[in-house]
Structure formats: C-alpha cells, structure tokens
Amino acid sequence: MQGKATQPETAARPAALSGVRVIDMSGWSGQYCGKQFADLGADVILVEPLDGSSVRRDGPFIGGSASIERSIPFAYYNAGKRSVALDLNVTDGQQVFKHLVRGADLLIESEKPGLMASRGLDFSTLAAEAPNLVMTSITPFGQTGPYAHYECDDIVALALGGLLYLGGYGDQPTAVHGNQAYLAAAQFASVASMMALLGASSGSAGNGAQHIDISVQECVVMGLETAIQFYDLERNVRTRGSGQLSMAGVGVYRCRDGEIYLMAGGIASTRFWENTVRWMMDGGVADAAQLLEEKWQSHDYLATPEARETFNSLFKPFAARHDKLALYEEGQARRIPICPVRTPKDILESRQLAFRNFFVTQHHPATNRLMIVPGAPYRLSATPWKAGSGAPRLGEHTNEILEGLGYDAVTRAALLKAKVIN
C-alpha cells in the first residue's frame, strides 16, 4: 500500500487548454473529442440543430423516460460544453455560424460529405473567416472514395474495419459493446486536432488553416492488433479466438459470484504457473501437485487439449468455491496475473479506483440530479483534468453566445421568431 492519494486542488491550477476555442457540431463520432477538450479547459460550444443533437435521442435515459434532456450518453459526452441551437440550413443561420467560427481555433464536425459545402460552409469558406482554423471532419469512410456516401452505424464500421471478425465465438462474431467504432474516431480526432493546433502554434504547419479528414472505418482498422501483420508476413488470416492463447491456465473461469480472468500459463514465466499450482495445493487441491511435473513447463504441452482438460478439472472447482474479489486479491498477493471480469457495478465499487478518486459527482442541470460519472482518464500534475459543469440544455447558451458575438436583443428576437435559433 502506497501513501494516500493526493487530490490536487484543481481550482487554483491553470488548465492546459484554457483560451482554446472549440466549436463542436458533431454527433456520436465526435462528441467525446469535444469533451476531451472541454475537460482540459477549452471553451467548447456545442452547435445543435433546433431539435437537438441526435445523441439526445439515444438511451439509456435518466430515470428511464425518453426525453432530449434526459439522455445519459448526451449528458456524459457533453458535460462542460455550452449549447447553441442554430439552423444551419438557412442563410441567416449560416451567417451566425460563420461569426462563431471566426473566433474559433477548432471546428469538429461529422456531417455527411458534401453537406457543409451545400450550406456554403465548406473548409475553404470557413478558412477565409478564420485563417488559423483547424477543421476536423469525421465521417464513416472519409470525405471521398467509393464508400464515402455509404450509410453507416457503429456495427457496420466495426465490420468493414475488420475488428468485428476477430470478436465473438467460433460460430458467430459479436460486436464490442458501447459504440467503440464511433469512440475510436472521436479519440483519433482529439489526437489529430491537438497535433494540428500544436503545429499551428509552432509555425511548423506553415501559415493558414488546416483540414483534417478522419474515417471511422480506418480508426477501427488501427485496432486489429497483429491481424494485418499475420496476413502480410505469414499469410495467416487471424480468426476469432486466435488472439487469445488457448492454453491451459489462460482464460475466463467461473467463480462463486461471477468470472475471473487467469493468465497462469502462456506468458514467458513458469513462475506464474508454479504460483498458481501452489495456491491450489494450499487450498486443499492435493491433486494439483501433478501440475508441477516437468512436462507442464512446455508451452506446446500447455496448448494440448489434454493439458487444458487436466488443468480445468482441478482449477474450475477451486475457482467455483471462491468469490472473484477474494481470488483477485489472493492470486495477486501470490504474484499471479489474475483479475475479476468486472461488471459496471464492480467497477464502481473498485477500491483501486476509489483510492484514486476516479469517479466524480456531476450535477445535471436539466434534471437537477447528482450523477456519479467517470473522471480523469489522465492525470496532469500542473494542469489537472477537471469535470465540467453538467451538460447543457438544448440552446441553453444561445442568447449569451449570440450576445457575445455582438447580436443585440432586437436582432436575437428576430432570429428566434424566424426560427433560425432556439
């Protein structure tokens, strides 16, 4: 046990991205990018259509009842942003948007290719408004190409990006949980946008605005581990399950209250194996002694069905007698790579995450609720991550932002009446 975690006094510290102005008009594939900027101190304005971001219509919903002010994904991915509701399909809305962009360093958008151009808001037009703008465009397949206008969804991007084929069971691929294709794009958007901003500030990017073209499919391809190299170098097409070593002592085992993941074999250490065997023996599994025989030190033997069956016949009943946390703590104390297959509840109850104050409480203004949400995914000592205020209501900041742009009350009222803003 190390010393107690220091909870930095964030209020007094500067933010890494203070003064960076971001316009985020994206959806699922970009809102996490805007959140990453907001949480490090950038001023992020979410531009939504008059009926709200499409993410507002995705559940789960706070309290279970569907409403655009109760979407949990929206609340999570848009905390710390301000919301402007603006119709980009009418000329007056496009003018307001150009004014907004004039003061921005970064624009994140995920419209279908060509849509921004049809509104007169293509990159070159916006670059004329804001000569140092970084415009990050995220689309399922990229701005051009044979699939540029294909319809997409998270599972379709996982399929065409090759990750779906690797996940699941021998008789059926299954898609990873939680919109990971869209989120992969949002994460790479953050990296690319930050690189471009940094390049612009050093002058290395030359002068002028920069346009970044991100493909969700290509972001998924980055997650194929060794599959590409197995094919390129050994002409071997990786299939499901082949990424995991199907060896004795490696994999998911049921225990009394769930499952654990064990890696006793396979990694280049016979120490883990021996530690695991001694653990079973100390736990009263006398027959486990046979696993110390010399043949068990061979990886080739560990991979045989006979070895797997023998190990399983001893370890399965042992694991089934214990709880996952007990197996985790006792196994780790014996220097064995073992851990619980955690549920969301387990994660919320983790003593390690609690020690690190990982979860934070955030107020949700639209429902006046306090919510426990994941906190800092990185800890920067001088410029700490900081939870933003709760996600905005639709158009909550339209008035103040337009006022800041110099639109007087009469003009704002006219725009509202003409249904350009909300």
């Binding site: 190409g145 299954t174 800890r379």
Partner: protein, 406 residues
C-alpha cells in the same frame, strides 16, 4: 508541402510492448524524433512475438514490433550500468518528453524517476503509463492486455448473454483507448509548456481511459441502478441489427436498420415483401417486439448472398450494411481503404517491403506518414551518440567495451 506538426520535438522513449509503444509511434509518425531505448539484455519483448517475416523468428523480424515502432530510432543502452544511465540522462537532457509504461517504481530503480529527471530537464513532460496508475492498493498488481480488458468491463459487456464473455478478441485498450488518451494528454501538456514554459508529470492508468469511454454504461448503473448485461449484436431499440451469415465459409454481413425507409428498402432488396404487408412491423417498436423472428428469417435469406454483393445492393438502397471483413479483405480487397491509401509499404532493412498502417486521419497538405519502417535493435546507437550527444567514435567504442552501449 508543410513540415510535419511535431517536428522539433524529441522523445526519450522507455516504453515497450503495447500501449506505450503505440503512443510514441503516433508522435514519431508525425515528425517527433522518438529515440527508443532498449538493450540487448532487455529488449522490447514484442521483438520476440509473432508474427515474423516468413515465419522465421528473429529480433528484427516481428510484425507486431514493427507496426508499433514505425518512424522511431533505436539505441541500445544498458540501464543496469552507470555508463548506460549516464547516457540515458544525456538523452533526457536533449528531450522534451520522457515516456514509460513500466510498473510504478521501475524508472526510479534506474535513477530515472520524475524527480530525478526534472533535475536534468526542468521543463520535461514525463508520462508514466502503468497498468492501474501510480497510486493505490492495486498499483503494483500484475496484468496484461487481456486482464486490462477484464478490469475495464469491456470483456464482461461484449458477447452473448448466455455464453462466456469474450470482449473484442484483442487487447483492445492497448491499441486505441490508451495510446489515444496518452497522446492527447502529452500534446495538451506540450501546448501548455509552449505557452508557459512549464513541464509536468502525467499519470495514465491503462484501465481508466477505457472505463471513461464506457461512461454511459457505467452511469446506467450509477444513475438508474440498471444492471447492463451482454446483448450479443442487439442494440435496443434498433431492429434488425446484427451480423448475418452469407454464402461461403465464415462470411457475414452486418446490417443495422434504424429507419422506416431503411426497413422498406431491406425488405425490397432481399425480396421479403410480406414484411411490408404487416403493419405491426412498420414501426421500430413493433419490430423490436418480434426481433427473434425477424432476425432468424433475415439470417435464412442472407445465406443465399455473397456478403459484398448484398452490401452493395443494400447500400444502393440506403441501408447501413457492411461485409464482415477479414484481415485479408481489409488489406487486399476493401476499395475504400485503397482509395484512402491506408496501407503503406515500407522497406525494412531485414524484413524487406512490409505493410504499415497509415494514421486514420489525413491532415491536408502534410507529407505522407509513417516516415520510416521500425528500427533494427540498436540501429541508431552510433548516430544518436554522434549527432545528439556529440560523442566521438573512439568514445563510443570505449562505452561499448564498458558495456554501457550494447
């Protein structure tokens, strides 16, 4: 053409294996001078991981290593010698970033913990990417990519409800969440340093970015008390939504029908027009009620199609559909990745021409990346000693004989 965005930034790179090496690769591909520190005694263990060029093992033949280390330079210092540590300190003195993904305490053993490094380079940005972070009761627990998947929930949540949880079939956090989060944090810290001159320490636990990505699922429990279970390929309330078998061995198509228009188009393309006669199926809610029946029927029909043909027909009709591509498909056949120029062939000194991922984004006007294939072990030792440290050839020989350079 403009220079690359990170030119002029140097990284003293102590990372190895998965997530750490991928993080610094993102920087190296975009112009940073990333100097990877290994030694013959302690090399990156990915160098001895399959696959190998032509299946022949060798420390300079691993594709796993190559892909994670493009555009970097490799020097071999023995950090267990005083001379090796002195050279590491010299490199740090010439660097902007110091990166590692060891268990907490390892860098301190080499005299290269953050406090020591700050004395060498006051404004350094120091990033540590241990498994569970550098504080807390489990900070020194053992783990690997697959145990990270289990700890983050992604394993439990992915797969069929009635079968074993399967995750992604890969060490997912190593390839996307951790490198992307770490790189973003580093870049933000560089931005702060450029404005203020202040460096800092960054702690990334290899579990926390993935848990952050799963925010809505975690909150469904913390806010609503809902216990989220695996749902296979179903995503309420969309129906049909899933993966359906096609003709051929282990060929599949992913289909997602989120609108009434897409539903009509699907029925028409596959010729199951009786669906359109049934008013109960006209709404998403109605279809969700009868999803078992609909998806079983769809799976019977898709078997008669080639995945690529059905995808093309469905997409023409405006239905989100995609063939479940294998590695061979994405490399050899996918026309969109070809159009994007995603696969880059680089001539590696020992492996010969081999393919690398281009980054999944294009910065208009920037030169093509990655710039160089992965380095041979110690390929740049003399070059870095000479050009960065200003050490003469005879001094290099002396250091080599003393075992500081290996």
């Amino acid at each position: 053409m403009s220079p690359l965005p990170l030119e002029g930034i140097r990284v003293a790179d102590f990372t190895w294996i998965g997530a750490g090496s991928f993080t610094t690769k993102l920087l190296a591909d975009h112009g940073a001078d990333v100097v990877k520190i290994e030694s013959k005694e302690r090399m990156d263990s990915l160098r001895s991981s399959r696959p190998y060029k032509d299946g022949i093992p060798g420390i300079n033949r691993s594709g796993y290593f190559a892909d994670r280390n493009s555009s970097k330079r490799s020097i071999t210092l023995n950090l267990k010698t005083e001379g090796g540590q002195a050279l590491a300190r010299r490199l740090i003195g010439e660097s902007d970033v110091v990166a590692n993904n060891f268990t907490p305490g390892t860098m301190e053993k080499f005299g290269l913990g953050y406090e020591a490094v700050r004395k060498i380079k006051k404004d350094v940005i120091y990033i540590a990417m241990s498994m569970q972070g550098d504080t807390g009761p489990e900070s020194k627990y053992l783990g690997y990519g697959l145990t990270i998947g289990a700890l983050t929930g992604i394993q439990y949540l992915s797969g069929l409800p009635e079968r074993e949880p399967v995750g992604t079939g890969t060490n997912f956090a190593d390839h996307i969440p951790n490198p992307c989060h770490a790189a973003f944090a580093l870049l933000a810290a560089l931005h702060h340093r450029r404005r203020t001159g202040e460096g800092q320490y960054i702690d990334v636990a290899q579990t926390e970015p993935t848990i952050a990505l799963l925010g809505p699922t975690i909150m469904d429990f913390s806010v609503n008390g809902t216990v989220v279970e695996r749902t296979g390929n179903q995503r309420a309330p969309v129906c049909p939504h899933g993966v359906f078998p096609c003709s051929g061995s282990d060929r599949w198509i992913a289909i997602s029908v989120g609108t009434a228009r897409a539903w009509r188009s699907l029925a028409e393309v596959i010729g199951v027009t009786e669906w359109l006669q049934d008013p109960n199926l006209a709404t998403g809610a109605g279809r969700w009620q009868r999803r078992m029946e609909i998806e079983a029927h769809l799976a019977e029909v898709t078997k008669r199609w080639l995945a690529e043909e059905l995808m093309a027909r469905l997409q023409e009709a405006g239905v989100a559909a995609g063939a479940v591509n294998t590695a061979a498909d994405v490399v050899d056949r996918d026309p969109q990745l070809k159009h994007r120029g995603h696969w880059v062939t680089l001539n590696h000194p020992e492996m010969g021409p081999s393919i690398y991922n281009a980054p999944p984004f294009r910065i208009a006007g920037a030169p093509p990346v990655p710039r160089r294939p992965a380095p041979l072990l110690g390929q740049h030792t003399d070059e870095v000693c000479g050009k960065v440290f200003g050490i003469s050839e005879s001094e290099i020989e002396t250091l080599r004989r003393a075992g500081a350079l290996t």
